[in-house]
């Protein structure tokens, strides 16, 4: 395992060197445009999956495995960012959105190559962890590919697009859980945990489309905002986020958690309506929620782990 582990790391370093040589500054451009907050949103479910696995199977965490899985998921997400940017180049220009392609001078060809590198690196990290983890990561790639790329380009269809993002997060959690459950992780993954990931994200992720509003409208991508109009969409989005926070104590069956969920939900609600809209505040509140849940689950894992 240790010997094989070196391979993806070496490939990552070589890829970075080769890409930097092809286009100086491309790695730096990528780091600044790699959407770290959204990447974290995929990594939290992975930690959550690992947490569930280690408690359910009473097996200690292998930190090297966990690190490799996080790398696999991270690069899988980066592949999806590149695929999305390439296919959204027109919409991003209209929305004046900063992406790897339209704000820097990188050539499409080089960005495509970067995407291929991310894809291979993510598969290599997954492969080191085993064939079944590879299959789960591959399923994630398929999900993102059909989400962003033609002919399907499912991101055009609301609410399928949001559901797919929530499903992507669930997949990341199952990947973490599969480090401990090699047989049928999809069937044995706790239902409560699945609901905790998918329902709040399905309700709360619409705000991501707010910044792309003008581009989406021009390129006929259906989002909550292009379908309901910008103003109505904002209100629906704010209420959906509030609802997503309120549902969490109900899903984990812990009424006491309303004390935290309601104020956090109301703050998110406020920032969703505040002009000019600033996406980062929503993420900060989301991170506070995750932090609180992490503390609660660590104190009482029985809240989320089936008896």
């Amino acid at each position: 395992m240790i010997l094989y582990s070196i391979i993806p790391i070496i490939v990552t370093i070589i890829s970075a060197v080769v890409m930097e040589k092809k286009e100086p500054g491309i790695v730096k451009n990528w780091t600044s445009g790699s959407r770290p907050f959204i990447a974290l949103h995929y990594l939290f479910p992975t930690y959550f999956g690992i947490f569930l696995g280690t408690h359910m199977f009473q097996s200690p965490i292998n930190y090297l495995d966990a690190f490799f899985l996080i790398c696999a998921i991270f690069f899988s997400f980066q592949t999806s960012v590149v695929t999305n940017d390439i296919n959204d180049i027109k919409a991003d220009r209209i929305s004046e959105k900063t992406s790897l392609l339209n704000s820097k001078s990188s050539a499409i060809k080089h960005i495509q190559e970067l995407g291929v590198c991310f894809f291979l690196i993510s598969l290599l990290f997954a492969f080191v962890l085993g064939y079944r983890i590879l299959l789960i990561v591959l399923l994630g790639h398929i999900l993102h590919f059909t989400y962003s790329s033609p002919p399907f380009r499912l991101k055009r269809f609301f609410p399928v697009s949001i559901f797919m993002l929530a499903l992507g997060a669930l997949l990341a959690a199952i990947a973490g859980y599969a480090l401990f459950e090699p047989s049928k992780p999809f069937l044995s993954f706790p239902v409560k945990a699945s609901l905790l990931i998918t329902i709040p994200l399905f309700l709360g992720l619409n705000f991501r489309d707010l910044a792309d509003y003008s581009g989406d409208k021009k390129t006929k991508v259906a989002t909550l905002f292009t379908l309901c109009g910008l103003n109505t969409g904002r209100y629906i989005n704010a209420f959906a986020i509030l609802l997503s926070y309120i549902l969490i104590p109900l899903i984990v069956q812990m009424p006491l958690f309303f004390i935290a969920a309601i104020p956090l939900g109301l703050t998110s609600f406020y920032f969703c309506l505040k002009q000019p809209f600033q996406e980062n505040y929503i993420f900060y509140i989301y991170f506070v929620l995750i932090g609180l849940l992490a503390i609660i689950f660590n104190i009482n894992p029985g809240l989320i782990i089936p008896k």
């Binding site: 398929i142 033609p150 002919p151 399907f152 459950e181 992780p185 999809f186 069937l187 993954f189």
Partner: protein, 660 residues
């Protein structure tokens, strides 16, 4: 938006051939992974991790769907006279329905996982009408598969109707699409049965499909689908890209290449034939050679194509897919051949890897040791291993053991030791088999399974549990082995141990029906028929094909004296699992009670044929012989039962009874 407009919108989408292919491949992979995730009897990735699983997910099933896609594309092109690119775009969108199948099946099985079965042979054509009888369950196909096919048929009918406005053509499309799907389902097995149709029974069907020179059944299936793709691809290109077919089959440019490949194959056959002669009896061997030749044509044409042209993309994708089917070593040599042709000025050098690719077809991974016949030992090892495997699959365990023992004297390999051990077990020599299997330092899934079964047959249940627990500690298929431990505990009447194992197996995502089946067995063993009946009914609620639950119900009815219902349950179970030796034994026992001795005798014999280590079947056959007054035969059977399980008391009692 009307249907015309909708189709036009799809046809007008702009994306490259590679993106289209990747999308289709992604859909197929998604379907395969989901299917392996949700299938009740399997685990994520279909089978315990080995190359079979890889070939099933990444090669065999994708080629199956690509072939179906191309045949339907051809049907649409012929009936609508539409451009192939436009039709393929629409079809690509339509084929997304294949993802629905595992989702439907998991819903139908109430989240418990379902059992997949596949069409077995051309003879099932007469049962075609059952496929659309949605009032009943069909053993040959799951509900998801049936709904998927129905959706494809409706889609095909509608598409042709929209394009042509001709009902006759639409109905023709419907029939042709159904035939395409049906033939794809039965084709590989039908090909494997060709020798038996001509009266040749030297090789069994299983041996043919699993023991080609490729050795993995999944690869052999893939060969058949690859040839189907080439055949239909040729017709489609003749309609849409005629110049490409000319480029592929240009003997002026590919004559020497083909010749060197053939020389490689012949050289390989000459080296291996003293040890392995079955190669000539297997129809799939010839198909493999044919595919290798066609792959060479394709790769050669790809090497002659312009950079970044669509032709190059089509040929490269096809070349890689077919080369993977023929094995990783073939893929390596054919890639070297391509690179030399494409990049080097010394084109004749490309003939060398081409020759090696032909040779690699026969010797696969052993090619580097055997291509220069200095290492005669390596050639003998490869040949005898293949022959041994062939005999093994053919259930000729004595011959298989001879071959494997000969190979083991040349090469001390755990894989060979495993097979020798399994041969001993299959020949009824449990002690020797166990001794050999225990020698393997890191036993794989198959070895653990054989070892566990052997200990169970010997009645050493504690040792079986130890073997399985060791496997679980090494993380070798824990879900599977927890279930097996629960089964043993249930048989032994150990409720606490059974419950613990079942709880653990549930944690690993095991299907609920399996849990209820085992609980049913436990209560039946305890004589609590009411509770057993409840458990079996619950198992059947989750999976109507739960064979053990059906058999359990059969036993309950039998004990209640309801012979007709019992017979019905056993027959139902046998319909689902025609190779289950225990079911034949149980049904035989039923006929024994009703004094239908002839019927019972046949069934016991069948049971022994399916599993020569069946203690009960030997014992029951002895009872029949005793009833018929054939005491010598009866004694022989009791002794055989005792050979399998020396502590089997009923057989001992009968022998003592006869002697008195």
């Amino acid at each position: 938006m009307n249907a015309h407009h909708f189709i036009k919108k799809i046809e007008d989408q702009k994306f490259s051939f590679l993106i289209g292919f990747l999308t289709f491949f992604a859909i197929i992979l998604c379907r395969n992974i989901l299917e392996s995730v949700f299938e009740g009897t399997q685990i994520l990735g279909f089978s315990p991790i080995n190359s079979h699983s890889f070939y099933m997910i990444f090669v065999h099933f994708p080629l199956f769907y690509i072939s179906i896609f191309l045949w339907i594309l051809f049907v649409f092109m012929s009936l609508t006279r539409e451009n192939w690119i436009k039709v393929s775009k629409t079809l690509l969108m339509g084929m997304a329905v294949i993802i629905v199948t595992p989702i439907i099946d998991i819903i139908v099985s109430k989240g418990s996982g379902y059992t997949l079965t596949y069409l077995k042979g051309f003879e099932e054509f007469t049962e075609i009408h059952k496929f659309f009888d949605f009032t009943r369950d069909l053993i040959q196909a799951s509900w998801g598969q049936r709904i998927e096919i129905l959706l494809i048929l409706i889609g095909g009918f509608t598409y042709v109707l929209i394009k042509t406005k001709n009902y006759l053509k639409s109905v023709i499309a419907l029939i042709l699409i159904y035939l395409v799907i049906f033939l794809h389902g039965v084709l590989p097995n039908t090909i494997a049965k060709i020798p038996s149709y001509f009266g040749a029974h030297t090789l069994s069907f299983k041996t043919i499909i699993t023991n080609g020179i490729l050795a993995i059944d999944s690869q052999n299936y893939a060969v058949i689908f690859s040839l189907s793709i080439i055949l239909i691809g040729f017709f489609i290109l003749r309609k849409g890209k005629k110049e490409l077919t000319k480029k592929i089959f240009n003997f002026r440019f590919s004559g020497l290449v083909i010749l060197s490949l053939c020389l490689g194959i012949i050289y390989g056959i000459l080296l291996i034939s003293p040890y392995y002669t079955f190669i000539f009896y297997n129809p799939i061997s010839y198909l493999i050679f044919l595919l290798a030749l066609l792959t060479c044509f394709i790769v050669n044409a790809a090497a002659l194509s312009n950079r970044a042209s669509v032709d190059l993309h089509i040929l490269t994708v096809a070349g890689i897919l077919f080369a993977v089917v023929l094995g990783p070593v073939f893929l390596i040599f054919i890639t070297i051949f391509f690179l030399i042709k494409k990049l080097s000025h010394l084109k004749w050098l490309a003939l060398i890897p081409c020759f090696c690719a032909g040779f690699a077809l026969i010797f696969q991974e052993a090619v580097f040791k055997t291509i220069i016949p200095i290492d005669k030992k390596a050639i003998e090892i490869k040949g005898r291993k293949l022959a041994g495997w062939c005999y093994f699959l053919n259930t000729d365990y004595e011959q298989a053991m001879d071959e494997y023992t000969g190979t083991y004297s040349l090469c001390r390999d755990d894989e060979i030791l495993k097979r020798i051990g399994q041969c001993h077990l299959n020949l009824g020599d449990l002690n020797k088999g166990i001794e050999l299997l225990e020698e393997i330092p890191e036993p794989d899934y198959e070895t653990i399974l054989s070892l566990g079964q052997a200990y169970t047959q010997k009645g050493k249940h504690t040792r079986t549990i130890e073997v399985y627990e060791k496997a679980i500690k090494r993380n070798v298929e824990p879900a599977e082995f927890f279930i097996k431990i629960a089964q043993i505990a249930s048989r032994e009447g150990l409720e606490k141990e059974m419950s613990q194992a079942l709880e653990k197996s549930l944690l690993y995502g095991n299907s609920k029906y399996k849990i209820f089946q085992i609980k049913g067995d436990f209560y039946l063993g305890k004589g609590d028929k009411k509770k057993a009946l409840k458990m079996y009914t619950k198992a059947l609620h989750y999976n109507s094909r739960a064979v053990k639950a059906l058999a359990g119900l059969g036993l309950i009815y039998h004990q209640q004296g309801n012979i007709k219902s019992a017979e019905e349950q056993f027959l139902k179970a046998l319909n689902i699992e025609p190779n289950n030796d225990a079911l034949y034994n149980n049904l035989g026992a039923l006929y024994f009670i009703t004094k239908e001795y002839e019927k019972a005798e046949q069934l016991f014999k069948k049971s022994i044929k399916k599993n020569p280590n069946q203690t009960e079947a030997f014992y029951n056959l002895g009872l029949i012989y005793e009833k018929k007054g054939r005491i010598e035969h009866a004694l022989a059977m009791y002794h055989k039962a005792l050979k399998v399980n020396p502590s089997y008391a009923p057989a001992q009692r009968r022998i003592e009874g006869i002697k008195k």
